[in-house]
Symmetry: C2
Subunit: 554 residues, 2 copies
């Protein structure tokens, strides 16, 4: 045996605690108790953040620590520099400003949305050292292993003077960000809309929070999951009908996630009409891992939906959810509670289907939302759009998909991963391409991995207005390619199909057209939508839904 | 548009709230504030649990709500019956008693450990309707979708009178169990070792807790992750050397999980000796998703380990962890904090390798710990022992494995999933078999899925004392089978090898023997262990580690 006393390095084992205490003391100069005045935040940040720190400046899918973001962008780059930003959403202009001034240098993130274009330019200009574009739960997981934040800048609706935080419906990423940071001796600062004597409920215990600051204005929330029914086209309605007849019904999908977009909004809006007529109520779409989409209101009100767990919230839905505790997860204060980590896990392991949209699909079924000039990130799609090999519970849908996938091994199920697109997207850009743009981008930027959203091997079905391709029933790469071409419409990829092979695939139901599914094209019109406008959604909700201004035209 | 007022069912939307309030009122008769006397718990349970309820009677991997389990076993089956038990660990005798008396009928779980035999008998006798044997994170995920508990019986070290709970190192499953239950209008009851004026830290906010009861004795903790170095054999040391030379070193594995068992304990104990001599310090085994294994102490003390996040705790390790905050995640009170949901996510998405043991491996590499007469469950192995297709960050280890796996598609990495076994296990049972016992059991019990722990398609390497098989380098099922036979020793499977094919596989390093790896068999002796006894571990820890009585022979 090696002598323990000899080998053991004579070192301290609480350097992180000493360092935290030092930072807390430096920060305390700006605080009264845990409270810091808005005007002192810049000083606080300069006192507690060190060069090279990993910082999570909470930018969630929806909720933004915007005041703290603005403050961080104004710190002296001589004092605070070369930060490694580790946060899921990089969606505010201030998030990118940090890299312009040298305050930040390295980036690991998940989603950039509106900053996708600016991010692509900053990367091309060499201003950002990119770690990886993660799916949410992957980035959160790394918070506990090799990307633990030194400082977390979080955001809540209210705090009490002990630092107990109330997030209400927008709990989102905060629990995981704060737990990883606080338990590894990091510093946690929260901007809050108000400081109160007693918070309505405690989402985060105060002993995990070091400083609180009342922001001059309420935090910014992005209404990311609202789709105006008025914008839904007849093509999208047709695709929605194909999805229900071709997938939801035969597999009996009860537990699922819907991606963001008009295609899945259309599905939500024809559940109480089209699917109702098919007698599917109670047999499909009962349990969701889903943000509170306003377009789900008619299905909820019609008694289709039994339970919804959410990643985050949605602007305008608070009062509606508060009035529907039988459906949504709600805290003891009566308001909804979300949790992106838990809901992403639910989307991975506890649902039978993910259905979502994308910008580009190639001949192997790989998809990406990254184009030459935009790096939008993927959010939850890579996670929920993958087959979890660790799953060990059976369901009819999962077992049926597993049987179709065949293979010589042991009996096993398969997650249904569905991509739903129109053959031509905005500005007539084809959804089907020979080569994904993201491959070229990966070469240009020298990325280790091309930013593929969902790999073709995980995709089971692709739906367009022309039909549904069941890739599980394809026995080789050539069949797979023809199944994809066979529903790719008048895109170049679609026109390049081998007609005989496509018809053979159709004969064995690897491709199904509307007529094969008993769909009358004449039915695919806007009368099928349970709500045809945002105002309709409001009415369905008994006026509990309060649409954000940008969706009101009245 | 369908008229919303017409379609909308005239129903209440807060039935779950009304029902919760009714139950709380019924339970309040047994409580003063939130406090319930131990003698009144039976009455409380009969008041708040309804027939057919889904109940999580917290049984974690280690921490047990044993007092509440005992109380539930004594309720009147005329009042409380047909429960659907949804909990990760079914490890106490009382857990099974529930099914004998009809109090419980249906079961969804993850791990049964010491009750594996009794569970198999109860299933065979038709006393339990089995849902599924999940991996932890999968069961937790279903808590938010279709297995939400109506009642959670949880356990903590201390509570204050508002119900704020302190779990200290054994936070484990509680946060996810309680969040799912409390936010879906369920009832949460906590047994605690003591009721105090102020808890050292808040692990669970009190507004999620309905009733607290001081248990007559502290909750039971199972020292599940302690392996006595005195029991480690030279065969296991040899396998450990093979694993380090054959996998850790060439792939440069820094982020990893070790399963439970003597094989991985041996690896931990030769890091500061064998791996040190190889110059691997800082290049392998730096970041762990791992319970606080006592056998990791010498590696920690020697400066090998940078960070450990834990699923749960381990008996006797509290003081040691408290003194090592630079390594472990610790709360503001100074004691460690664990979280099984977060750590399982970390094990899935943020590590490059899972290495663990099993009881049986078949010719395709499928493994199971389920045998004809024992259903032990799998715990975290199916999750961590799977390749997460949603992962989007690169690392050297992951990319190297991906290159070896080859394939025609886009560049992509691969999780390393390693099974390490001795060719013959206890009582000379062969680890390698033509057919897994669990297949027969699945037929007998009519299970939809055979309880496979890790599917062969996810396994990348198998290590025995005879060598390491790299399944990534096998190009077809026949090669794969021979690679497995080629390291299966003198088992029947091993003796059935095709010698020429095995040598061919060896020539291209799909099989590597100790001599191929520069390992001198004479070095494989117990002198290589940094600690050879539990007492040695204690000394390494500066006497901070306090071994449980069953591991003390002095």
């Amino acid at each position: 045996m090696v002598a323990s006393s000899q080998v053991r390095a004579s070192r301290r084992w609480d350097e992180t605690v000493v360092e935290r205490d030092r930072r807390l003391a430096a920060g305390a100069r700006y605080a009264r108790g845990k409270e810091v005045a808005a005007a002192d935040v810049r000083g606080l940040l300069e006192a507690v953040i060190m060069p090279g720190d990993r910082v999570c400046l909470e930018g969630d899918n929806q909720k933004q620590a915007d005041f703290l973001a603005g403050c961080l962008a104004t710190v002296d780059p001589g004092k605070v520099r070369d930060l490694h930003i580790v946060q899921s959403g990089l969606v505010l202009a201030e998030h990118l400003d940090l890299f312009e001034t040298g305050i930040a240098r390295k980036l690991d993130f998940s989603y950039s949305g509106p900053q996708g274009g600016a991010l692509a330019r900053a990367l091309a200009a060499g201003k950002i050292e990119l770690g990886a574009i993660h799916t949410y739960i992957e980035l959160f997981s790394r918070y506990f292993v090799d990307l633990t934040p030194n400082v977390a800048l979080t955001v809540a609706r209210a705090a009490d003077r002990d630092g107990n935080l109330y997030m209400g419906p927008n709990t989102e990423d905060s629990p995981v960000v704060i737990e990883a940071t606080a338990f590894k001796q990091g510093i946690v600062i929260a901007q809050v809309n108000e400081i109160v004597d007693k918070v309505p409920r405690v989402d985060i215990p105060g002993d995990r929070i070091d400083f609180i600051v009342r922001s001059p204005s309420p935090f910014y929330l992005e209404p990311l999951f609202t789709r105006d029914p008025a914008q839904i086209t007849e093509t999208q309605i047709l695709s929605a009908m194909i999805a229900i007849r071709g997938i939801y019904e035969p597999y009996g999908i009860t537990r699922l996630n819907h991606g963001i977009g008009f295609n899945t909004a259309a599905i939500e809006l024809i559940l109480p009409t089209y699917a109702q007529k098919l007698g599917l109520k109670g047999r499909i779409a009962t349990h969701f891992a889903l943000n509170p989409h306003p377009t789900l209101i008619p299905a909820i009100e019609s008694g289709w939906v039994r339970q919804v767990h959410s990643f985050g919230s949605e602007v305008g839905m608070d009062a509606y959810m508060r009035a529907r505790p039988d459906i949504f997860f709600t805290g003891r204060d009566g308001s909804m509670g979300s949790n992106r980590m838990f809901c992403q896990a639910a989307g991975l392991y506890a649902t039978d289907m993910f259905i979502g949209s994308t910008l580009q699909i190639d001949l192997q079924g790989n998809s990406s939302t990254v184009t030459r000039d935009r790096i939008a990130g993927f959010g939850g799609a890579p996670n929920m759009g993958s087959d979890p090999h660790g799953r060990r519970h059976a369901s009819e849908a999962w077992m049926k998909a597993g049987r179709e996938a065949g293979g010589a091994g042991l009996p096993r199920g398969r997650k249904l991963v569905v991509q739903i697109v129109e053959s031509f997207a905005d500005k007539m850009a084809p959804a089907f391409v020979e080569k994904l743009d993201c491959l070229e981008l990966a070469e240009t930027l020298g990325l280790a991995l091309p930013p593929v959203m969902i790999y073709g091997g995980d995709v089971t079905h692709i739906v367009t207005e022309e039909g549904v391709a069941n890739l599980l029933l394809c026995r080789n790469a050539a069949e797979r390619e023809q199944a994809i071409r066979g529903i790719a419409g008048y895109t170049e990829v679609g026109r390049g199909r081998d007609r005989a092979m496509v018809e053979a695939l159709r004969a064995r139901k690897a491709i199904q057209r509307p007529e094969d599914l008993g769909i009358d094209l004449l039915d695919a019109n806007r009368n099928l939508l349970a709500a045809r406008s945002v105002k309709d959604l409001m009415r369905w909700s008994g006026n509990l839904y309060e649409p954000p201004a940008k969706f009101r035209n009245w």
